[in-house]
Amino acid sequence: MTVPKWATMEKTTGIYLHLTEKLLKSAQEAAQRKGFASLEEFLRSLLKKEVHFGDEESISAEEKEKIKEKLRRLGYLE
């Protein structure tokens, strides 16, 4: 399996996925068909699509309020 360069820089989750042989084979085929370098990269992409990270962690409540004020001033929000 090809390991992308950036994979070595990221923390591992410690989670092991138990897949049936049939599901694993299908997932590997799907990853290959869709052009992913590895099954890991394919699964990561699926997770990103489905997982919602909630509020943007970089925006504080105060900053968000300022942005909302600007959006109201410019007519984007009521």
Binding site: G35, F36, S45, K48
Partner: protein, 382 residues
């Protein structure tokens, strides 16, 4: 909310303290003058439009983008974002130096942390990015005018440039709050450099029918001769949105950036930018970001096959026409009638009618939109 490209929404704006320090010691810094297009790139880096870029590309990223359409860390990226200088200018600079990037009036725009200088081949640049070295291609022509040396390094924005259309200029951080406040989970982005015709409206509304909101995001900035002027595009969209769209379902925001006319590569670049703004879907039409006949009409669709990891979902649209017998916009998959009943949405033909002071038929262009163009003394870039 969709994550920004590379998982981080970049912000590279210098602190108040740093700005004052640089203002106080302005004379000590070497200055590189930058043109309007470069200032747009700097601002887009600083406000996260180009996330995850934090500055101008170094050699490893530059070469990787050219050869593989990805940054050196494998993240998808197709257009080089570079700062070029001449060989003699580069000789005076030292790696590790802090340099002020200044506008035409010599006002400091950004602090540039020079990390590396490197040479490159303009032929290689043009052939990889534009697929040609033909100088009649506007992107190629510009490439051959670039300096011989590229400078890589991070930037920090020192002052906001005076871009026009403040009302229609939002940063990704702001559009993300906007979409959240509007309750839009799925947002479709629409890139354009044109005044809208009925075909555009059809595509936008088709996409909007299965998403929550439409993000109309025209590119304003340097364009080629014959393209519509920015203020005409603005007024035309204002009219279209006012008369034909639900206010709570569509927003108009400008993207200050030059067109590269890099066809398929630029389509990926455009999708990445809209992902950073918070869009989950992106419309890719026929000959997206193309010019002349340099690219096959659907090359911008095919290239997405190589980028299954983009996350933002491309929505591919083929050619549409108005069918008099159907009484609606249709395409080859939906219309059973002969070509004699069809009117094509030819941008060239519409522009020709408008140039001659004629109102295009209502099947092709909304009258309110046509009137905006006809009222304007010089609607096209000269």
């Amino acid at each position: 909310m969709i994550r920004p490209h590379g998982d981080v929404l970049v912000e590279r704006v210098a602190s108040e303290e740093k700005r004052s320090r640089i203002q106080r010691n302005a004379g000590k810094y070497r200055r590189i003058p930058v043109d309007r297009e470069k200032i747009q790139d700097i601002t887009n880096i600083a406000h996260g439009v180009y996330s995850p870029l934090t500055g101008f590309m170094g050699e490893a990223d530059f070469r990787s983008v050219l050869m593989e359409g990805r940054l050196n860390n494998r993240i998808a990226w197709t257009i080089p974002i570079v700062l070029d200088v001449t060989e003699s200018e580069a000789e005076k600079m030292g790696e590790g130096e802090e340099i002020v990037l200044a506008d035409r009036e010599n006002r400091p725009i950004a602090l540039f942390h020079l990390q590396e200088t490197f040479g490159y081949s303009q032929d290689e640049y043009a052939s990889h990015v534009f697929g040609t070295t033909d100088t009649t291609h506007p992107g190629v022509e510009k490439t051959y005018k670039m300096g011989e040396i590229l400078l890589g390094g991070d930037i920090e924005l020192l002052s906001e440039p005076d871009f026009p259309y403040e009302k229609y200029t939002l940063r990704p951080k702001e559009t993300r709050v906007l979409f959240e406040e509007k309750g839009w989970r799925d947002v479709v982005g629409f890139q354009t450099r044109n005044v809208p015709h009925v075909g555009h409206e059809y595509i936008q509304k088709t996409a909007l029918a299965f998403t929550d909101g439409l993000f109309v995001n025209p590119v304003v900035g340097k364009k080629k001769k014959g393209d519509f002027r920015d203020d005409v595009i603005l007024e035309a969209y204002e009219q279209l949105l006012e008369h034909y769209y639900l206010k709570e379902r569509a927003v108009l925001v400008f993207l200050h950036m030059e067109m590269r006319y890099a066809g398929p590569r630029e389509a990926i670049f455009h999708a990445i930018i809209r992902k950073n703004y918070g869009c989950t879907h992106f419309i890719v039409g026929r000959d997206h970001a193309g010019v002349g006949s340099f690219y096959p009409p659907f090359a911008a669709h095919d290239i997405f096959e190589n980028y299954p990891d983009l996350i933002i979902a491309p929505l591919f649209f083929e050619s549409f026409f108005y069918c008099r017998k159907c009484g609606s916009v249709a395409n080859l998959k939906t219309c059973p009638h002969d070509s004699q009943h069809r009117i094509n949405f030819s941008g060239t033909k519409i522009r020709e009618l408008l140039r001659n002071g004629e109102v295009p038929p209502a099947e092709l262009m909304r009258p309110e939109v046509a009137q905006v163009v006809l009222r304007h003394p010089t609607p096209f870039v000269g």
